[in-house]
Symmetry: C2
Subunit: 376 residues, 2 copies
């Protein structure tokens, strides 16, 4: 398998935006093109979770390739629910690693704020098990089940959980691309609206618009894709043996570390899918950065702060940077590259060799882990 | 780049079906699993053009992987409008050719008949250029423009064009998987309802349900993937320099033949995207089987009949086998494998070494060509 390198990255500011999905994707793509120095590609991979539902947009891969002036480059759309941006990265990796493509452009975007919040919530809830959905489950409801169980098993309190939101908002406040750019307090979290006990509004990532882009190449550059892994899990949450950890993340991480030939101890910074605050803790344990229950301890001890021993979501994460569903998995890759190359405009660890991303599709039915290596 | 082989195939009967998308996909997948002799996979690729619009189904790749009992295999959905099944094949090819996956399962399905025809037509028209759509264009309208121009340039008459439908219905009548299984006459075509001049009802492929599956592997088998190519074109038809030929097919074919190291003269059977009868003629010329205008002559001379020198759509094609949009590109691959291995239940050429498929995404904005080789 050929080595694959990252030649360029691009991202829009996330938030409630007025421009079209196409315009946002083009903005992110053009930044990545300039960053890479390339202007022709062997393939274009476009990711969006549900542009039909959010916008009524179809045939997105062809449209974007045309608008970018990249015709006749082959193009396809990839989708895996809320991990779409990461699955896209996998598809592009295979194209380059196979030797069939020397350079590919990967772009993800989602516009979610154009529909009423109730419709957005409906679209998001369609990714969970149909039977559980008919019995009233939603994404936050299932996440709340998982969170409550974690509290019981590991002694996590609501005030401790609020530290994730406080940390990530503080990080996001220094990230010019973030949806939310203001700091919050534990009291802000504790007094915010209860969404589904024990999750409050500030425990949930926002509905956002945003796009991200990455150029992959077979030519050595400053950042190498060291490894990636992907795994699925049963759609029905009630059929799983463990509510407080996601097998799909664990298997994905094992595969990624095996490919990279390193261990979790080698990771210097991580972007973890904190669609809900508890998912950051669970995800950090599932990828192996901490033992079960250890994510809580690391949070309380400040280890995961941007200046801690192992920063998690130094960018602000999905919680504060925002969560345009199809984009987040690729935005995490962009953030890790910004950190590894020292180009992130927010406080982040310096001189790190390996950075990790973890993305969750659906209620952890399709999760991915990527590991990037800085070559110095 | 590693060689990639086809280890198994599966397909449902096409038509107006009562079972769910998931059930149809599972049926095709299980046939392919049994055919391949494998029951575990390194990845699952699922294709559907618009299950959200036709059915309200989301997170399809995870759902199918779970229902097939293949968790935790990585899974993703691929989409490229009406060439989705072929783009899926490309994504799976890259996964195996890279060496990252040894065995992948590729499945495509679409249920279109559950919504009223007017809604299906609306969904299909969303893939064309937004500006042309707002001015009243639909898929058949743009195809009609192309057909009329071909008639002017190459002297094709409506009665000659009807020969495509007559041939493909005669072929479909002998294919137990076909949507339509009755022969028709030139008079039937000529007296059918005018859809968009010069295209009549019998010049258009039907709205169908159906699924297809293919197992790709790095282990030598009877069928090798000799080559494939993909290319995009401008979304807006009015911006193109040629209405009677599709640049995207031409470039895709050049790439496929280059990879396979053969020429069009080596092809012994072909499945061409005859969503409209004229597209079979145009497609056969674009892939290089005949010179411009030569597709008409070959049709009239019976060369493309199932017992002619170069059979085209011996299966009945999209016209008679049916056209579940996301499935067709992969169904073509299944048909070619059936023909190359002598397992097709309909009359088809014997002892052929190379078979070709050509798939059209949108109004020829994202086209693919694959070439399969029988190893004897």
């Amino acid at each position: 398998m050929k080595n694959v390198w990252i030649a360029g990255i691009g991202m829009t500011k996330f938030g409630r935006r007025k421009d079209s999905l196409e315009d946002m994707i083009l903005e992110a793509a053009r930044i990545a093109l300039v960053d890479s120095g390339y202007d022709d590609f062997d393939a274009v991979y476009v990711g969006a979770m549900h542009p039909e539902g959010f916008l009524g947009t179809s045939n997105l891969a062809s449209v974007i390739t045309d608008y970018l002036g990249l015709v006749p480059a082959p193009a396809m759309r990839v989708e895996s629910a809320s991990s779409t941006g990461a699955a896209l990265f996998t598809a592009g990796f295979h194209a380059v690693a196979s030797g069939d493509c020397r350079r590919v452009l990967i772009i993800a975007g989602e516009v979610m704020t154009r529909v009423p919040t109730s419709k957005a919530t409906h679209i998001l809830s369609q990714v969970i098990d149909g039977d559980e959905r008919r019995h009233g489950a939603t994404m936050p409801a299932l996440a709340a089940l998982s969170t409550r169980r974690y509290m019981v098993e590991y002694g996590l309190t609501s005030r401790e959980l609020a530290l994730v939101a406080v940390k990530n908002h503080a990080n996001g406040a220094r990230n010019p691309y973030a949806h939310f750019q203001k700091e919050i307090t534990i009291e802000d979290v504790m007094s915010s609206k209860l969404i589904c006990d024990p999750l409050r509004l500030y425990d949930c990532s926002p509905i956002s618009d945003g796009a991200a882009a990455v150029v992959l190449t077979d030519t050595p550059s400053a950042i190498r894709v060291a490894g990636f892994g992907q795994a699925t899990d049963l759609i029905s949450v009630q059929m799983r043996s463990d509510l407080t950890h996601f097998t799909s993340t664990r298997i994905a991480a094992e595969r990624a570390f095996k490919m990279a030939g390193i261990s979790p101890a080698d990771i210097g910074t991580a972007e973890i899918h904190d669609a809900f605050t508890s998912f950051e803790i669970i995800g950090s344990e599932d990828v192996g950065l901490f033992p079960p229950g250890g994510g809580r301890r690391a949070l309380i001890d400040g280890i995961t702060q941007h200046d801690g021993r192992l920063p998690i979501n130094a960018s602000g994460g999905l919680k504060a940077r925002g969560h345009p569903v199809g984009t987040s998995g690729l935005a995490q890759v962009v953030e890790i590259v910004l950190q590894l190359t020292g180009k992130a405009q927010y406080p982040h660890p310096q001189g790190v060799r390996y950075g990790l991303t973890q993305s969750v599709g659906g209620l952890a039915t399709n999760n991915l882990v990527t590991i990037m290596e800085a070559i110095r």
